[in-house]
Symmetry: C2
Subunit: 289 residues, 2 copies
């Protein structure tokens, strides 16, 4: 029995060490988990990894109603058209939007700023969760700033293609080159960078949830794209990968704003071409019950 | 020393039990974590918890370019307006969209189906990540199906308000009642349920990633809202909480489709009112650099 005691003491010591090591490791694991997840998805926009807005949409009611307390309700003013007129208007509007194409060849000719003001005014009429209007439209005209935007995007794109994407992407070199060089960022007279405000601030400086901010800002971008097409301007819908934080800093936007979209805007250049695509016919996108 | 041995044995036993319990618990914790997270956010739409589409957007390139290989490129056809005409058109378009309001009082008068076809055609011209066109518009005209939609939404809403939301919501009973009863789901002649296809299928039946599907479908909803306004119809943007799975089954949509939005569509009823809201002025939403 005497000889067992040192063995027991040794066992106790080993167990104690193991317990502590185990506890430490499990603690480290827990800390490391989000990082591991991030590391496994190198192509995720890093700006989105902070998760600030991941569950912003959770706490809303289902209707996007404005904060209606203490606000008067007034009769709706509404223009009613004849059925013939409605059919004609809806047909013409479809034809207008159906002519819209994503255009990557944009001339350096200047566009009237009054038109840019109006298309952004139009975008600002979009509905938003709880009438938060969680959007900021940054209009870049300055050639130097446009060029800096281009540099940031091309730098990050190069890293995206060379490192972040892995073999799967490197295989398709032809397509890669097309994506990497973005001449339109210099040539287009206007870049519109659309930021979503993932949260706002109350009068007392507290965080104010911006319900459904990404969906709201995307709807506003829909209004903007329709307004540009209606005005005879062209653009291409882009979502620069991993460039959000640097572009946000370049443009001096606060941290509650995240880049959602970048639209280079102008007239098409004379040699502009588009892929000869078809859109799905109505019976492939609509179901009637 | 003899007397210490049983104490040591007891300590060893306790330690062994503790080590095993700890290992088990940490294992359980790891398993339980996702559930715990879900439980802590009871107001999250359950349909979104399956995470099918949480990171669909990750693997895209930044441009929403169509799959351009093997597709001919053709010259862009473009209508160029005079600057005066551009300014006039952009001003009128802004004024048209600025008259849009979210309307919750919808008359039961029928609307021309040709107009509904045209507004959905217009929505289908939206840009989408890699030209995947990841949208399905379900148009519900049948009064019985509309009523079933209403039952599902009001049932889930009642649970949302009574159980899922907690005290925070229950406090605001007045607002609650407004949200819970959705008469417009019966009265509106048309409900449009917009589903996002979180993935598609290749010709060989494999999953095909639908890049940026939620942003794409939201832009299409922007086109749809603009088209409805242009045609003289009214709606309210709703995102029924937790109703996605049941509505998907009711409408016989496949599992790769998730409900994004529901729009009741019609003419406003005679007594329709709206809150007397203001929109942010241009200088609060636009920054020029």
């Amino acid at each position: 029995m005497f000889s067992l005691t040192p063995v027991l003491v040794a066992v106790v010591c080993i167990l104690i060490v193991w317990v502590f090591k185990n506890a430490e490791r499990s603690h480290e694991q827990r800390k490391a988990e989000p990082q591991t997840t991030a590391r496994a998805r190198p192509w995720v926009d890093e700006d989105l990894r902070d998760g600030t807005d991941l569950h912003q949409e959770e706490e809303d009611t289902d209707e996007w109603q404005e904060s209606e307390e203490n606000i008067d309700h007034i009769p709706l003013s509404h223009i009613r058209y004849s059925e013939q007129e409605m059919t004609r208007r809806s047909q013409e509007f479809y034809e207008l939007l159906n002519q819209r194409r994503s255009v990557r060849f944009i001339s350096d000719e200047q566009v009237p700023m009054e038109v840019i003001d109006n298309v952004i005014r139009a975008a600002g009429t979009a509905p938003s969760g709880a009438h938060t209007e969680p959007w900021t439209f940054v209009v870049v005209k300055d050639p130097d700033v446009k060029h800096k935007v281009r540099e940031i995007i091309e730098e990050e794109e190069e890293i995206n293609y060379r490192k972040r994407m892995g073999n799967r992407w490197v295989a398709d070199l032809k397509k890669l080159r097309t994506n990497w060089i973005k001449e339109y960022l210099d040539s287009a007279p206007i870049l519109i960078l659309i930021f979503k405000q993932v949260h706002g601030f109350t009068a007392s400086g507290k965080r104010k949830t911006h319900y459904y901010n990404e969906v709201s800002v995307s709807i506003a971008c829909g209004f903007l794209l329709a307004a540009l097409q209606n005005a005879g301007l062209v653009t291409v819908t882009t979502t620069p990968l991993n460039c959000g934080p640097r572009l946000r800093v370049l443009l001096d936007r606060p941290t509650n704003e995240k880049l959602l979209m970048l639209l280079p805007v102008g007239y098409p250049s004379k040699e502009a071409t588009v892929p000869d695509l078809r859109r799905k016919p109505l019976d492939q996108i609509m179901v009637t019950v």
